[in-house]
């Protein structure tokens, strides 16, 4: 039997298979199965389970616990001064980091869009802070800010700016702002990269037209550049706000929520409640309050990123 004939025989033996595979709905289901199993199994089931857990008084160290308490945990969390204070710190963190990183990102992107010697190199290294693991970022800044041997103390005292070494992460007033500084260092490049990519898509004719109309560089920025960048700036700010609500790693490494709770943000308070005090039900309700906040922002995010895609 010749090879083509054999192939035909094989196809004939399973007549239904290839036609089934050509049915979009069937094929789509088949293709989505691995993703659905992995994402729903590992992510969405836990989210629903967190929701259920948040309605109980489960404490891991007490075997009999887990009775249904309704919205009791949520009401308790919203009245809990410690949790409310930690939410306030999360908002402060977001309100400082998001505008600073976006503005700084815009300025650096405009700079890197100019022609200068070594531009490729500078554009290249800008990605470094983004690629650095969060934990290494935290350890690195903690080392730079070290009270006894830190590079910041050494630099400032050798320049004659400070007389003695400071415990930068030891004072409640400065610790949080240094954590914020470390975050700004790491997260600004994302804004630079997103805004720079958008800058490069602005057609040169727009600038030429503005120049013909006699607009100087300042007017060109507000008439051409900024309006074209508005969508990417909006997306950057929303994404960064969501990240700010999630921040945990940096605080865990740099300060552990201290000193005197000064850096204890909402995710950290949730972690302490759950894994240190083992109040799984109560911690789950705190986690869900953060989720609800994220979802409100996510709603705006989804509408910003692709209104058509979602309507489909």
């Amino acid at each position: 039997m010749s090879a083509p004939a054999r192939r035909r025989r094989v196809l004939l033996r399973v007549p239904g298979w290839s036609t089934w595979l050509d049915r979009p709905a069937f094929l789509a289901t088949l293709l989505l199965v691995p993703t659905l199993v992995l994402v729903f199994g590992v992510l969405l089931y836990p989210i629903l389970d967190t929701l259920r857990l948040s309605l109980t008084d489960r404490v891991l160290s007490q075997p009999g616990s887990g009775a249904f308490v309704g919205l009791g945990n949520y009401l308790r969390a919203l009245q809990d001064p410690e949790f409310r204070a930690s939410l306030g710190r999360t908002f402060y963190f977001a309100l400082v980091t998001v505008p600073v990183e976006t503005t700084l990102g815009l300025l650096i992107a405009l700079l890197l869009n100019q022609r200068f010697f070594g531009r490729g190199f500078v554009r290249g290294i800008i990605i470094l802070p983004w690629a650095l693991p969060y934990i290494v970022n935290g350890v690195m800044w903690k080392w730079i800010l070290n009270a006894n041997y830190g590079a910041l103390n050494a630099l400032l005292s050798q320049l004659g700016i400070i007389g003695r070494y400071h415990i930068w992460l030891g004072y409640p007033s400065t610790a949080f702002n240094f954590v914020i500084l470390a975050n700004i260092w790491k997260e600004t490049p994302v804004a630079v990269i997103l805004i720079l990519a958008a800058l490069q898509t602005i057609p040169g004719e727009l600038y030429e037209a503005a120049r013909v109309d006699g607009a100087n560089a300042w007017r060109q920025f507000w008439a051409v550049t900024f309006p074209s960048l508005r969508p990417v700036i909006a997306v950057t700010m929303v994404v960064k706000t969501v990240w700010a609500l999630k921040e945990f790693d940096l605080i865990y490494v740099m300060t552990g929520g201290g000193p005197a709770n000064a850096t204890n943000v909402a995710t950290f308070q949730t972690y302490l409640t759950t894994f240190k005090f083992l109040k799984f039900g109560y911690g789950a309700s705190m986690a869900f309050i953060i989720v609800l906040l994220s979802l409100v922002i996510a709603f705006f995010y989804v509408r910003l990123i692709s209104p058509k895609e979602v309507a489909e």
Partner: protein, 304 residues
């Protein structure tokens, strides 16, 4: 008289040119100063970590600080990689953590790339109900704080005996990067004209065949972009590994490095060495494959 006027006019023109040139020069100087500031700001902190890792404890703890060591001290790197007599439990744990990181992030990326390319093809090419909700759900998962999913994840893994295994960490990483890969690859698939597939199907290819023979080869740069991006995120993931691992069986490099930060009387040189080693894979990948990473970042714009 006429000659004088002309020469005056020439003079002002020359002065104007000189002024414009001065303004231009000033602009260039300010531009280069700003560029220099950006370069120093970006490089200095990490450079200090690298210098610390090849310095000596004596130099690092001196006052006034000795910024550059007298000689390069690579003993920590050697102790970690080669082992030998002076290698301590610290060095052994860094080695074990690096190995776990490679296994967890590498396998998670491969599995997520496979599953993600299938689902990305489905949402890019096929019409089916619930496509919109599927995409929105994928996007929404990226916005959730890990602390939300970790509580039940911990309880499930505890009940089936998977706590402190690389398998559990891998599953958690896959769940984090898979929606991202799906979203990025969908963008690439959308950019491939479906006429190419139609031609293949006229020639007797099934849809599935067209995916593997036409679409996948054409989107190799998309696979590279999403794969590299996902690997870096999986490598850098800390929280899930921190909660789900407890011994060197599964602790990743991030967890090992974090442990340095909470120890008292820590060996700063060893800590810096571990930090540099943990950063090298993502930093080198990002620098060498920058084009792909930027494509991934702008396409995904979902997670940092």
């Amino acid at each position: 008289m006429r000659a004088a006027q002309v020469s005056v006019r020439r003079g002002t023109a020359a002065a104007g040119r000189a002024r414009r040139r001065r303004v231009w020069l000033l602009g260039r100087i300010l531009l280069y100063l700003a560029v220099l500031a950006v370069v120093v700001w970006v490089l200095a902190p990490f450079a200090w970590l690298v210098i610390s890792s090849v310095s000596t404890r004596a130099a690092l703890t001196s006052r006034p600080l000795q910024w550059l060591p007298d000689h390069l001290d690579l003993s920590n790197y050697l102790d970690i990689f080669v082992g030998g007599g002076s290698s301590t439990s610290v060095h052994r744990s860094v080695r074990a953590g690096a190995l776990n990181s490679v296994v967890v992030a590498g396998l998670a990326t491969l599995v997520a790339l496979f599953a993600g390319s299938l689902s990305a093809y489905a949402v890019s090419r096929l019409r089916f109900r619930l496509k919109g909700p599927f995409l929105v759900t994928m996007l929404a998962t990226q916005l959730l704080p890990t602390v939300v999913i970790i509580i039940p994840m911990y309880m499930v893994f505890r009940s089936i005996g998977l706590l402190d295994t690389v398998f559990a960490l891998m599953l958690a990483d896959i769940a984090i990067i898979l929606p991202l890969i799906t979203w990025i690859l969908k963008g690439y698939f959308d950019g491939i004209p479906s006429s190419l597939e139609d031609a293949a199907r006229v020639d007797g290819c099934t849809r599935a065949g067209a995916l593997f023979r036409v679409v996948m080869p054409l989107s190799s740069s998309g696979l590279a972009a999403s794969g590299l991006f996902a690997f870096i995120i999986a490598w850098n993931e800390f929280f899930t590994a921190f909660i789900l691992s407890s011994t060197l069986r599964s602790k990743t490099l991030s967890v090992i490095v974090a442990e340095f930060s909470s120890k008292v009387g820590v060996d700063y040189v060893a800590m810096a060495t571990a930090g540099v080693l943990a950063s090298l894979p993502p930093v080198l990948l990002a620098l060498f494959f920058q084009r792909y990473i930027i494509q991934g970042l702008t396409a995904g714009a979902v997670k940092g």
